[in-house]
C-alpha cells in the first residue's frame, strides 16, 4: 500500500521579485510504501523540504496530485498518525522539553494520562530524560534535535517524516538516532528521511530517491545505487599470465597478479570469463560485484544531470 503518493507535483513560489518565480517542485512523482525507510537525497534547494511541507499542508501545491495516508493533505485527519521533525525548527521558546511533548500530544488529541504514559519512554529513547524540565531555549542544537524527534513520535505515528534529523547531532547522537530509526522500522513504521548524511541513509534506508531541481532523477534500493552495475572484482592467481577479453564479453578495467576488475556487457558473460580463467588453469579465489559509496553515486547522478540547482 502506498502511504505517500504524488503525481506530477509542481510547486512554484511566487517571489514577487524581478528574478521571477522559483520552481521548487517540477512534476514530481513518487510513491512510498508502508513499512519502508525511504531516503530522499538531493542538493540544497532540490525541493526536499518543499515536498514534505506539501505532504503536511504547510505549503500548498501549485498543481499535481498528492495523497498521504490515502487522504488529501488539506484533510487534517491525514496527519492523525503522522510525526514530523521540521528542518531548522524553532519550537515555542516558552516551553521545556517536557512541555513541548505535552503540547504536541494535546494537539494530537491525546489525554494527559496518555501523554504521560508515553513521555518517559520517549525521553528515554532519545536520551533526554535529564533535560526534560529545562527550557528549550537552553538546549544545544543536538538536544533540540533529540527533543524534536521525541515530539514527532508522541502520538505513536505510523508515518514519520524527518527533515535532516541528525543535523547538529554529535556522532554518538547520530548512532543513537540511527538505532531509534531501526527500532521504528522493526515496528513496521514508514519513515521518510531527508538527509545530507549519505552514509547514514545508506545504512538504514530501504529505498532511495535522488532529487534535483524539483524532480526525482533516480529511485531504487540502496543496492541499486551502490552496485556498479556490471563491474566485478575477480581474485585469482593470475601471476604474469597475459589475459585479454573479447569486446562482446566486456572490458578489462585493471589487472594485477592476483586481482582483476572487469566491466561486463551482460551478467552471463561472467561465466565466459570464469571458463577462460579455468582453461588457463588459473585458480579463482573469489568473485565480487564492486560497490561504490552512495555518496559517489549521488555525485555521479547529480553531475550526470547538469549540476546543482543553486
Amino acid at each position: 500500500m502506498l502511504v505517500i503518493e504524488t503525481q506530477d507535483l509542481t510547486k512554484i513560489y511566487e517571489t514577487g521579485l524581478k528574478k521571477g518565480n522559483i520552481t521548487a517542485l517540477n512534476g514530481l512523482s513518487i510513491g512510498i510504501e508502508a513499512g519502508e525507510i525511504f531516503g530522499l537525497l538531493g542538493p540544497n534547494g532540490a525541493g526536499k523540504t518543499t515536498l514534505v511541507k506539501i505532504l503536511l499542508n504547510i505549503t500548498k501545491a501549485t498543481s499535481g496530485s498528492v495523497m498521504i495516508n490515502g487522504l488529501d493533505p488539506s484533510d487534517p485527519r491525514s496527519r492523525a498518525r503522522v510525526g514530523f521533525l521540521p528542518e531548522n525548527h524553532r519550537f515555542p521558546t516558552h516551553l521545556t522539553g517536557k512541555g513541548l511533548l505535552m503540547l504536541a500530544g494535546r494537539l494530537h488529541g491525546m489525554s494527559d494520562t496518555e501523554i504521560k504514559e508515553k513521555l518517559s519512554e520517549l525521553l528515554e529513547l532519545v536520551g533526554m530524560k535529564r533535560w526534560a524540565d529545562t527550557m528549550i531555549t537552553k538546549y544545544s542544537k543536538g538536544m533540540a534535535q533529540r527533543i524534536g524527534l521525541a515530539q514527532a513520535l508522541i502520538a505513536d505515528p505510523d508515518l514519520i517524516l524527518l527533515d535532516e534529523p541528525t543535523d547538529g547531532v554529535d556522532p554518538v547522537g547520530k548512532a543513537e538516532i540511527k538505532t531509534v530509526l531501526q527500532k521504528l522500522r522493526s515496528r513496521g513504521k514508514t519513515i521518510l528521511l531527508n538527509s545530507h548524511m549519505l552514509s547514514e541513509v545508506e545504512m538504514i534506508a530501504d529505498r532511495v530517491a535522488i532529487m534535483n531541481k524539483g524532480k526525482v532523477i533516480k529511485v531504487g534500493s540502496v543496492d541499486d545505487f551502490t552496485k556498479r552495475a556490471m563491474r566485478y572484482e575477480i581474485e585469482a592467481e593470475i601471476g604474469n599470465e597475459r589475459f585479454t577479453i573479447p569486446e562482446e564479453v566486456g572490458k578489462l578495467v585493471t589487472i594485477k597478479t592476483n586481482m582483476m576488475t572487469v566491466d561486463l556487457t551482460h551478467i552471463d558473460q561472467l561465466n565466459t570469463i570464469i571458463d577462460q580463467l579455468r582453461t588457463k588453469r588459473i585458480a579463482i579465489r573469489s568473485i565480487q560485484p564492486t560497490r561504490i559509496s552512495l555518496e559517489q553515486s549521488f555525485i555521479d547522478t547529480i553531475e550526470g544531470t547538469g549540476g546543482t540547482s543553486v
Binding site: 521540521p86 503540547l103 494537539l107
Partner: protein, 263 residues
Amino acid sequence: MRGILHDTANELLTRKLYWVFVIITGLAILAIMGVDNIDLKFQGMGDPNLGELNEAFGNPMLIGFYSFLGFLGIIAFLASANVFPGMLERGRAEFYFSKPVTRTFLYLSKFFSIWLVYSAVLVICGLSVYMALWFFHSISDSSFLLVIPFSSILLLFWLALSAFAGIWRRSTVFAIIVVLLVRIGETVVSAIQQITPLLESDTMVKAIELSEKIYPRFDKSSDILLNLATGARVDSFLPLWVAIIFTLVIILLSIWKIRRTDY
C-alpha cells in the same frame, strides 16, 4: 482547545508580564487606601474634560475604575502582540501546522485563549480593586462589576485587530502600529466630527455619516458600554454595532489569510 489554551496561558505568563498586572493593581489598591474620603456626590459637568459626556460620567470613581481596566487592556494588547507573529515564525509554524488540526482551529483557539487569559486578568485585578473600594470606602455599586465584562469585550476588539495585523505581516511591530493607527484614526475622525457643523459643507457631513457606518469607533463603543453599566441613556448603538461587525469581519479575514498562506 485545551492544549492551545494551556500553551497560551503558559506563554503569556512565563513572560513575567503578570508582575506588571500585580504591581499596577497593587498601586491602585494603595491609592484607594491612601484616600481618606471619596466624594461620590461630585458631578463632573463643570469639568471641561467631562462636560461632553453623559450623566453616567458623574461618578469619577467609576470612570477611574473603568480607565484602570482600559489601561490593563492596553498592556494586554502590547504583551500579546507577538503571539501570532511568533507562532507563524519559520520553523514554528511547521510544528503547529503538522498536527492533525485545521488552521482555522489553531487561529480561533489561540485567539480566544489570549482573550480568555487576559479576561481572567481583568476579572482578578478588577475584583481586587473593587474589593478594596468596598473594604476601605464601603462602595457597593453593581456598575463596577458590569464594567469588568464590558472591558473584556473592548479588549476583544483590540486583540482581534492586533491578531489580524500580526497574521498579515507576521511582525509584532506591524501589529502594534496598526492598532495605534486605528486609535489615532478614531481621534482624527472624532475631531473632524466636532468641527463639521462649523464648515457647513454637505460633502463633509455625508463623509462623516459614512465614516460612522464603517469606521470602528472603539472609543464610542467604550462610552456606550459605560452608559449601559450605569443604566444611563444611550443615544445611538450604531458605533457599538459597527465595532462588533468590524471585529467579526477581521476575524474572518484573519482566518482567510492564515488558511491561504504558504508557511
